[in-house]
C-alpha cells in the first residue's frame, strides 16, 4: 500500500502540490485525473523519488520511501512513461530486457532476450520487432514496447503516465485493455495518470482527482458519475463553466 500524507512540492514560486493525502491500496488500480499542469506527473515522480518532495511523507507498506534502500525500493516498480522513454541506442529487446541484464536480477543474455520476446508478444508485438530500434517503430508500438519494459521484471507496482496520449482511439483502446489485463493478471498495484476519461473507465478500480495541489475527491470508479463534487462533474463532462478555471 502506498500512502501519501501532506505531500507538498514547490518549483520557484509555483506551489504545485499543496498537501496531497492519498492511499493506494495493494492490488488495486488507482487512476489520478486532473487538468494539464495540475501536478499529476510531479506527484508520481515524488513517489518514485525522481523529484524530491518538500514536506509530508510517502510510505510504501509503512516504510518511508526516502529512507528505504533505493535499489530494493525501485526493484518493486515498473513504469510506462508518457513518451515511452525508450533508449534510442538500444534495440527493442534490449530496452525490454534492460533490467534483466543488469543488477541483482541479471539473467544470461539469451534468457533475457527470450523473456523480452515473450513480453513483446504479451503486448501484441511480433518477435520480428525485437531487433528493431525504437526510432523504427510507430508511436503506438513504442507505447507497447514501453509497457513490455514496465512489466518485464514482473514488478509489484506499475505506474502509467498518460498511457494513451498521442494515440488514435483504437490504439488507445488496445493499450487500455492491455493495462487492465496485465494489472489483473499480475495482481499488481497500479497508479495511472491521465485526463482521458475512456482510459479512466477502462483501467480504474478507484479514482482520485487532483486539483489546485490537493486531492479534491477520491472514490471507487462506480461513484465517479454520481458524485455531486462540482470539480469532478465539471472535469468528466468537459464543461468550460464551473469551479475549475478554463484558462489556467
Amino acid at each position: 500500500m502506498i500512502t501519501l500524507t501532506g505531500v507538498t512540492k514547490t518549483f520557484g514560486k509555483n506551489r504545485v502540490l499543496r498537501g496531497v493525502d492519498l492511499t493506494i491500496p495493494s492490488g488495486q488500480s488507482m487512476v489520478i485525473i486532473g487538468g494539464s499542469g495540475t501536478g499529476k506527473s510531479v506527484l508520481l515522480k515524488c513517489i518514485l523519488g525522481l523529484v524530491h518532495h518538500d514536506t509530508g511523507t510517502i510510505t510504501l507498506d509503512g516504510q518511508d520511501v526516502t529512507k528505504a534502500d533505493r535499489d530494493t525500493f525501485l526493484a518493486r516498480f515498473g513504469m510506462l512513461f508518457q513518451g515511452g522513454a525508450l533508449f534510442d541506442s538500444l534495440r527493442v529487446w534490449e530496452n525490454v530486457a534492460f533490467r534483466l541484464m543488469r543488477g541483482p536480477a541479471k539473467r544470461p543474455k539469451q534468457e533475457a532476450r527470450e523473456i523480452a520476446i515473450e513480453k513483446l508478444r504479451r503486448v501484441g508485438l511480433k518477435p520480428e520487432t525485437a531487433d528493431l530500434f525504437p526510432a523504427e517503430l510507430s508511436g503506438g508500438m513504442q507505447k507497447r514496447v514501453g509497457l513490455a519494459r514496465a512489466i518485464a521484471a514482473e514488478p509489484e507496482i506499475i505506474f502509467f503516465d498518460e498511457p494513451t496520449t498521442g494515440l488514435d482511439p483504437i490504439m488507445a483502446g488496445v493499450i487500455n485493455d492491455l493495462i487492465r489485463e496485465i494489472v489483473t493478471e499480475m495482481g499488481a498495484t497500479a497508479m495511472t495518470i491521465t485526463h482521458d476519461m475512456t482510459s479512466v473507465r477502462a483501467i480504474a478500480d478507484r479514482v482520485a482527482m487532483l486539483h489546485d495541489g490537493v486531492i479534491q475527491w477520491t472514490g471507487p470508479i462506480a461513484d465517479l458519475d454520481t458524485t455531486p463534487d462540482p470539480y469532478v462533474q465539471q472535469f468528466i463532462h468537459g464543461r468550460a463553466n464551473g469551479p475549475i478555471a478554463a484558462v489556467r
Binding site: F81, A85, F98, R102
Partner: protein
C-alpha cells in the same frame, strides 16, 4: 541606501552565480571520479564511447594537425629569416606541436565534436525522460552515461594527441622539404635531435586532462539541460564553450606546472 548598494548587488549576483556554477561542476566531477572505481561497470558503453570519441575523431584531429604543422613551418621560416635562424624550423615545429599545438588544437577540435554530441545526446535523453527511465530501472545515470564517456575521453584524447603530433610534424616536414627547400634527412634528424621525451609526455598529460574536461562538460551540461529543443541547444552550446575555455585555462596551468623554472 538602495542606490548605493544596487551596483554592488548587480556585481555580486553574477559572481555568486559563477561561483555556484563552479561548485556544481566540481561536485559533478567528484561524483563521476568517485563512481569510476565502484561497480557496476559498463564495459560495452565504455567501448562504444571509446570508438565514438577516439576512432571517429581521428580524421578531424589529423586534418587540423597536418595544416597546423605546415602553417607553423611557414611562419617560423619567415619569422626566423629576420635573424638568420631559418634552420630552427624542424625543432620549433616539433616542440611547438608536441608541447602546445597538438594537445590544445586537438583538445579544442574534440571539444567541438565530442562535447557537443555528448551534451546533445544526454540532453535529449533528459527531455524525453530516458534518464528518469534509467533511474526507475535501478540504473545510476552518472555511472551508466557519464563514467564510460569521461573515462573513454581521458584515455582516448592522449592517443589522438600523439597521432596529431606525428601528423603535425609530418605536415611541417612536407612544407619544409617541398616548399622551403630543406633536405629531408636533415629535417628529420633535427626534429629527433631537439625533441625530448618530456616534451612529448607533457603533451600527452595535457591531452588526458583535456579529454576529461571535454567529456565532463558534455555530460554535465547534458544532464542539466533545459526543456525542449531550445534547452538542448543551449546545453550543447554551453558544453562547447565551457570545454573550450576550460581547456585553454587548464593548458596555462599545466604549462606553468610542467615548464616553469
Amino acid at each position: 541606501m538602495t542606490a548605493l548598494t544596487a551596483p554592488l548587488a548587480a556585481l555580486g549576483r553574477p559572481v555568486l552565480a559563477a561561483l555556484a556554477a563552479i561548485g556544481r561542476v566540481a561536485f559533478f566531477a567528484a561524483t563521476v571520479i568517485g563512481h569510476i572505481f565502484r561497480p557496476p561497470f559498463y564495459p560495452r558503453e565504455f567501448l562504444q564511447a571509446l570508438m565514438q570519441i577516439g576512432w571517429f575523431s581521428l580524421p578531424v584531429v589529423g586534418l587540423t594537425a597536418v595544416f597546423t604543422g605546415g602553417a607553423l613551418a611557414l611562419q617560423i621560416y619567415s619569422g626566423g629569416a629576420r635573424f638568420n635562424a631559418e634552420a630552427v624550423v624542424p625543432s620549433i615545429v616539433a616542440i611547438g606541436m608536441v608541447r602546445e599545438l597538438g594537445p590544445v588544437l586537438g583538445g579544442l577540435m574534440v571539444a567541438a565534436r565530442v562535447a557537443s554530441s555528448i551534451a546533445a545526446e544526454i540532453g535529449t535523453m533528459k527531455v524525453t525522460e530516458q534518464i528518469d527511465a534509467l533511474v526507475t530501472l535501478s540504473t545510476n545515470p552518472i555511472k551508466y552515461l557519464a563514467v564510460p564517456r569521461v573515462l573513454a575521453a581521458t584515455l582516448a584524447v592522449p592517443v589522438l594527441v600523439a597521432v596529431g603530433d606525428a601528423i603535425g610534424i609530418a605536415g611541417g616536414w612536407l612544407v619544409g622539404v617541398n616548399r622551403l627547400g630543406f633536405n629531408s634527412t636533415t629535417y628529420l634528424q633535427n626534429t629527433v635531435d631537439f625533441l625530448e621525451t618530456w616534451d612529448v609526455v607533457s603533451g600527452l598529460w595535457k591531452g588526458a586532462a583535456f579529454g576529461f574536461i571535454v567529456a565532463l562538460m558534455g555530460c554535465y551540461h547534458g544532464m542539466n539541460s533545459g526543456r525542449g529543443a531550445q534547452g538542448v541547444g543551449a546545453a550543447t552550446k554551453s558544453a562547447v564553450v565551457g570545454a573550450s575555455v576550460l581547456i585553454l585555462a587548464a593548458n596555462y596551468i599545466l604549462t606553468e606546472l610542467f615548464f616553469s623554472a
